[in-house]
């Protein structure tokens, strides 16, 4: 929970720090980072491929440019094909960071990125829920087996002071990066990057940015 918020705020924070940052929303069936960042009315430029527009200092790419407000019901193979298509034709040029907001779970998009992107590293976002952490456990196990680096785990939407997720993360020999308390102010800041950057949530994401 909160992957898109963490991804969008992280990209925003890194861009504010002066890095060359791209943000690629890979949640093709339910993209949301454009809503979080209040992005509308922009389109990629066609120039020997497609050049993503720069919004809030971020090179921003999403399927939303093509699907608009329509629902795009895609099966796994379609997700793979669309992903490969967009990766092949998007011209990111030189970037310090490409933040990719993933769909939930361990499905086609995750497997394709592991297969296709060199130097990929995973930042895992979870909630305090035991059931959510079960997915983290499985994902970490897969990534370790494939020797893919894990930057760390972020615990989002904390409602109390329990250290369970932190302890369980450490048991997996993965860094516990940050705990983010549930911040009701975020809801009011959706679509407004200045407001968003002023939230406690964003302050925590800034601490994550300083660790990667």
């Amino acid at each position: 929970m909160g992957k898109s918020l963490v991804a969008a705020t992280l990209a925003l924070t890194l861009a504010k720090k002066g890095y060359n940052v791209g943000l690629f929303d890979l949640d093709f069936t339910s993209p949301s980072t454009h809503i979080i960042l209040g992005i509308e009315g922009v389109k990629p430029k066609e120039e020997k491929g497609i050049v993503p527009p720069i919004v809030h200092g971020i090179k921003y790419m999403s399927i939303i440019y093509y699907s608009g407000e329509y629902v795009s019901p895609l099966r796994g193979a379609d997700v793979s094909n669309a992903l490969i298509e967009l990766l092949s034709i998007t011209r990111w040029e030189r970037l310090d960071f490409l933040v990719m907001d993933m769909p939930p779970g361990i499905g086609d998009a995750t497997l394709d990125l592991i297969r296709l992107i060199r130097n990929i590293e995973f930042l895992i976002v979870t909630t305090p829920a035991q059931l959510a952490f079960e997915t983290v456990r499985k994902l970490v196990s897969l990534l370790k087996e494939l020797k893919i680096p894990v930057i760390g785990v972020v615990e989002n939407m904390r409602m109390n002071n329990s250290k369970t997720i932190q302890q369980q993360t450490m048991k997996l020999s993965v860094e516990f990066l940050e705990e983010i308390p549930y911040d009701p102010k975020v809801e009011e800041a959706i679509g407004n990057t200045n407001k968003l950057l002023g939230t406690t949530f964003a302050k925590k994401v800034q601490q994550i940015a300083s660790k990667i």
């Binding site: 066609e46 497609i50 093509y66 795009s72 895609l74 379609d78 094909n81 092949s88």
Partner: protein
């Protein structure tokens, strides 16, 4: 135009095959493009002629368009994609990401967006002919 990006990918894939097959010179490359993506053939041809490396100097690039056939997963209906039925911005969206067709096209019989693209998606290499290293 993103035909250039596709041409780059075609050249990269063809070069890889030429290398693997130990071709010292490539004479002919047959390419098929699916109708769904509505590739501008003239631009693709021009991009190929500009991007081709030395080994492809005398290569003839032939491009054939394959019609896009769709099949509904719910009722089994098969139909052929018709660009003329789409407005310009929808056609452009499908041009860039063919899977976006699922957002705009529905089965003509039952109205479901759950269809498969049987053929006519993307760009693929049909065949490559050339002279092997060591030959004449």
């Amino acid at each position: 135009m993103h035909e250039w990006a596709l041409a780059e990918a075609v050249i990269a894939a063809a070069s890889e095959i030429a290398e693997k097959e130990r071709l010292k010179e490539v004479k002919e490359v047959k390419i098929k493009v699916g109708e769904l993506q509505q590739i501008e053939l003239n631009i693709l041809k021009f991009a190929l002629s500009q991007l081709k490396p030395a080994k492809f100097k005398d290569a003839k690039f032939s491009i054939e368009v394959a019609r896009a056939e769709l099949k509904c997963r719910v009722c089994g209906q098969k139909w052929v994609f018709r660009k003329e039925k789409l407005d310009e911005s929808t056609a452009e969206a499908i041009h860039f990401v063919p899977e976006i067709a699922h957002a705009y096209i529905k089965c003509p019989k039952c109205g479901s967006p759950d269809f498969e693209i049987l053929e006519g998606r993307g760009v693929w290499l049909e065949s490559i002919k050339g002279v092997k290293q060591g030959d004449g």
